[in-house]
């Protein structure tokens, strides 16, 4: 194995630059190093001004998402040796505004996530004395896959519709809405449907499917969205044919 590998990292300083430019850094090519290790090496030993987000370094916090050679990846889970002899191009997550270097502005995602009400909605809360809401393993399996989302936004970086349409809610938000819709303890699917059924909430999705390909937790947001579209269409026809049945 070669001694070093070159990382081409996108640098952007809003005070100085009009647009991002690449800077090359040779880093040691260690068998067990991931891109995040390389970035930390650069920050510790070479260039302390490099700015990026990271936290758990084990693929569960969702902080370290970046574009590695044009693909959205968790940098804590992307091994340098897979890209040897390199160079490796590291850029901030696509389709988000860049604040500085590899840090993106994620408020848009936060707003959209909040808008789908990703929490259990009850028409009536059970009194505490009645105990917990019970759920069978089958009821859990109905939504479990969609609950694995770590909000890393790799799916947003892979979704061209999100890049093109500011009104599109995006894969993770819709998958999480579906996670709660399918939860047997939840009674809020009507509320979420009203929000998401608005033009472009989910209808902008054209099932490109890249979101599912890049998801590090195998959430399959594309599947969630298509299932949601089917549900929304069925609800539409039901409300047309049986308007008295509104919950």
């Amino acid at each position: 194995m070669a001694e070093t590998i070159t990382l081409e990292v996108a640098r952007y300083s809003p005070e100085r630059d009009a647009a991002p430019a690449f800077q090359s850094y040779p880093v040691p090519l260690r068998k067990d190093w991931v891109v995040l290790d390389a970035l930390n090496y650069i920050k510790d030993k070479v260039d302390g001004t490099l700015t990026f987000r990271w936290s758990c370094r084990m693929g569960i916090c969702g902080s370290c998402g970046m574009m590695v050679n044009g693909e959205p990846k968790l940098t804590c889970a992307t091994f340098l040796s897979n890209y040897a002899p390199g160079p490796i191009c590291v850029e901030p997550l696509r389709y988000f505004p860049v604040v500085r270097d590899l840090v993106i502005e994620m408020t848009d995602f936060m707003v959209k996530l909040q808008s789908v009400k990703p929490w259990l909605i009850r028409a009536e809360e059970k009194p505490l004395a009645e105990g917990e809401y019970l759920q069978t393993p089958d009821e859990l399996n109905a939504y479990k896959q969609f609950s694995m989302c770590i909000n890393c936004m790799l799916c947003y970086a892979a979704c061209p519709v999100y890049g093109l349409d500011p009104l599109f809610s995006g894969p993770a938000a819709i998958a999480l809405a579906q996670r709660y819709n399918l939860d047997s303890r939840d009674q809020g699917s009507r509320q979420r449907l009203e929000i998401l059924s608005q033009h472009e909430g989910i209808w902008g999705c054209t099932f490109v499917g890249e979101c599912t390909q890049v998801c590090p937790k195998h959430v399959d947001p594309a599947g969630a969205i298509q299932q949601y579209k089917l549900t929304a269409a069925k609800e539409w026809f039901k409300s047309l044919l049986m308007p008295w049945g509104a919950k």
Partner: protein, 117 residues
């Protein structure tokens, strides 16, 4: 809902059209577009086709075959124009062109099939 959104309905039409197109168009296109003209298979005579067309079920079948796939095209093409050419600002024109086209095609199909001798 404050205002009834049309998108779920349009997506439903797109879906139905997609199913009809997926199941029926390949065999029709293969037979009438390739196999019969190229002589791979013996084409049905005018008389037998005419006889088939007399049956009202055939006319209904043809109406569905011509109408729903058009709505499938309308919805899909509309989004292809939005995302592929990024002309979403023209969305009124695109919507009229796509769904209007589908409605016109459906109306023409209905007229043709109703008035078959």
């Amino acid at each position: 809902m404050a205002k009834k959104p049309m998108e779920p309905f349009l997506w439903g039409l797109f879906s139905a059209g997609g199913v009809v197109a997926a199941f029926l168009i390949p065999v029709h296109l293969f037979l009438f577009g390739l196999a019969f003209p190229l002589g791979w298979l013996k084409p049905p005579s005018y008389a037998s086709l005419h006889a088939l067309l007399q049956h009202p079920l055939t006319r209904v079948y043809l109406f569905v075959l011509c109408s729903l796939p058009l709505f499938h095209w309308a919805h899909r093409f509309r989004y292809t124009l939005y995302d592929g050419l990024q002309i979403k600002h023209l969305n009124e024109v695109i919507t009229v062109f796509c769904y209007g086209g589908a409605v016109a095609g459906t109306a023409f199909a209905g007229y043709l099939l109703w008035n078959l001798p």
